[in-house]
Amino acid sequence: MTVRPSPDDVELYRQMLRIRRFEEKVLSSFSSGIFYGTTHTYIGQEADAVGVLACREEGDIVVSNHRCHGHFLAYGGSMHALAAELMGRATGVTGGRGGSQHVQWEDFYANGILGGTIPLAVGMALAEKVQHSRRIVFAFMGDGTLGEGVVYESLNMASLWSVPILFVLENNRYAQTTPVQLHLAGEIADRFEAFSIPVAEADTVDVIEIHALANKSAASVRAGEGPRALVLHTYRYGPHSKGDDTRDPEEILRYKKRDPLPLQGDRLDPDLRQRVEKEVEAEVAEAFQRAQDDPLADPASLTSPLDIAP
């Protein structure tokens, strides 16, 4: 595929950089004790969320998983509200109820149970279909999720009832610390094709390539042609959560040579690129500072509906 810079290049880069800098800040701040719980960062996979969700239209639904920060930011979620959520602040996306992996805002739903979200996503797509809304569902999952049986029940029904859903399978090659060759038999694409769900597959971190593939698949879904799957082979640079990285450093370095950010950044005018980088750094610094200045979630809020405006 020939890739040319387009006016969207800056925005694609900016969105990926927002995720990268946010996640770097999360990892580097963890030891200072400002966060509750744990985290699962998206560093290295940014092109997936940004490339795919650039196809999103108003009202479309996004179903995400434990590694949801990148999806949430690419969806348009507030960086400040996400930082505040990690810090257990009243101003967090869910006011401190959900934390890092249970983020629900507008039409974005994330949950920390692998695979458990997939039938929900199919049910939402079915509901949109029978209500003739033209909305489609983007359902993200990882290679580890393919070990969960309910995923296959869901693929079967998605295909059987031809619901408007795009499954986005991000193969980052590890389920926590277990490499894909130790937890997965057969081919990933075959799993979808077994249910007659057409698959587009790419081993790339090029956001433009991913966007083009996603656009095509999303268009088919939107046209009422039934579910589609996008299998994206990627890599995460960070640990599964934090301090649980058992991978060979050489391997990580090898994948860092195909980093989605410089690949896209190099397509920009250097001055423009620098400006974007400065702006994103300022945005991240401001989001974290504001979140840290916000009040901690009040236990009294647990008994009343929250009024959250990220």
Binding site: G98, H102, Q104, Y109, P119, M124, V130, V150, M157, I308
Partner: protein, 331 residues
């Protein structure tokens, strides 16, 4: 009208009243109408909104959650209550959590109907009473219908009026039981309290003050009713019977009021004895009335449900057992 007809009529009424209601389940299409026939006639009357599904209990409950999140009212039938274990993740980690995690921004108006209980010789995986495992799950409502009053109305409230996920328990042996209306019985005085999901308070009409409070739900409430009658007429033991429709969240004020008069509590359930519903009832009773309360729990023995008739009968509580326990408490 029996309980089966009441529930079936209620499903028809709900689907007629709201186009948002969708019905999903295994083998529910005509002419079969579901393993216990509760779905009879639905697929021909509302073909677009009745969906027969693969054998995928977790999947279809999850789909129901997704549909509920997006403006529909999903009713999912799980063919046998035992199969609810397959959908536990969807119920506990998704349906019950979403409203709360979202900060009350989303609702999950989902009803999962399922027949529980033994008495038909189906053996260890088709006869269980598993609802106790779902009691006390925050965000989940667990209801159990009886043959009293208006079982169809309870189902209709759950489907059309309730914003929260409901696990709706139907006992297999109730289906053929005639519905007993509040006004019909001359032997009992039957009072209803609570609004959407009633608590029934039953006494022998014109009896002396009660000596004992019995509480039970679902089909066991029917056994308890027979026991209360025989205790009065054969043994001159007068008992209050308190029957909740909603098991969880826990709410049993009429029971606690009755105990203030009797000081004796007998709980009856078909689930296995240890860590059961009765234990929770008893804990509330003791917290309210103190350690001088006299109490006993009757439940199924702590073992799987056998298939053979005599074996099954020896595991599940019966009317004789209730009478025996009540007499022991009074003597």
């Amino acid at each position: 009208m029996n309980v089966l007809q009441a529930l079936n009529g209620s499903l028809h009424a709900c689907m007629a009243e709201s186009e948002q209601v969708y019905f999903l389940g295994e083998d529910i299409l005509e002419p079969y109408g579901g393993a216990f026939k509760v779905a009879q006639g639905l697929s021909t009357t509302y073909p677009g909104r009745v969906i027969t599904t693969p054998v995928s209990e977790a999947g279809i409950v999850g789909l129901g959650v997704g549909m509920a999140l997006r403006g529909l009212k999903a009713v999912v039938e799980i063919m046998f209550g035992d199969f609810i274990a397959l959908a536990a993740d969807q119920i506990i980690n998704h349906a019950a959590k979403l409203r709360w995690v979202s900060g009350e921004k989303v609702r999950v108006p989902l009803v999962i109907r399922t027949p529980m209980g033994g008495g038909r010789g189906y053996g260890p995986t088709h006869s269980q009473t598993l609802e106790k495992h779902f009691l006390g799950v925050p965000g989940l409502r667990v209801l159990a219908v009886t043959a009293l009053d208006d079982p169809g109305g309870v189902l209709k409230s759950a489907i059309l009026e309730d914003d929260d996920p409901v696990l709706f328990i139907e006992h297999k042996l109730l289906y053929a039981k005639p519905v007993i209306s509040l006004v019909e019985s001359s032997e009992f005085s039957l009072q209803r309290s609570g609004e959407r999901y009633p608590v029934y308070h039953l006494t022998i009409a014109g009896s002396p003050p009660p000596m004992l409070t019995i509480t039970a739900y679902g089909y066991m409430a029917e056994l308890a009713r027979q026991a209360v009658q025989r205790l009065a007429f054969e043994h001159e033991i007068f008992a209050d019977l308190v029957i909740p429709t909603q098991l969880s969240p826990f709410s049993l004020d009429p029971l606690l009021e009755s105990l203030a008069k009797t000081g004796r509590l007998l709980t009856l359930e078909e689930g296995s004895h240890t860590h059961g519903w009765g234990a929770e009832v008893l804990a509330h009773a003791v917290e309210t009335h103190g350690p001088r309360l006299q109490a006993k729990r009757l439940a199924a023995r702590d073992m799987p449900i056998p298939a053979s008739g005599p074996l099954e009968k020896s595991v599940i509580p019966d009317v004789e057992g209730v009478i025996r326990a009540a007499r022991e408490m009074i003597s």
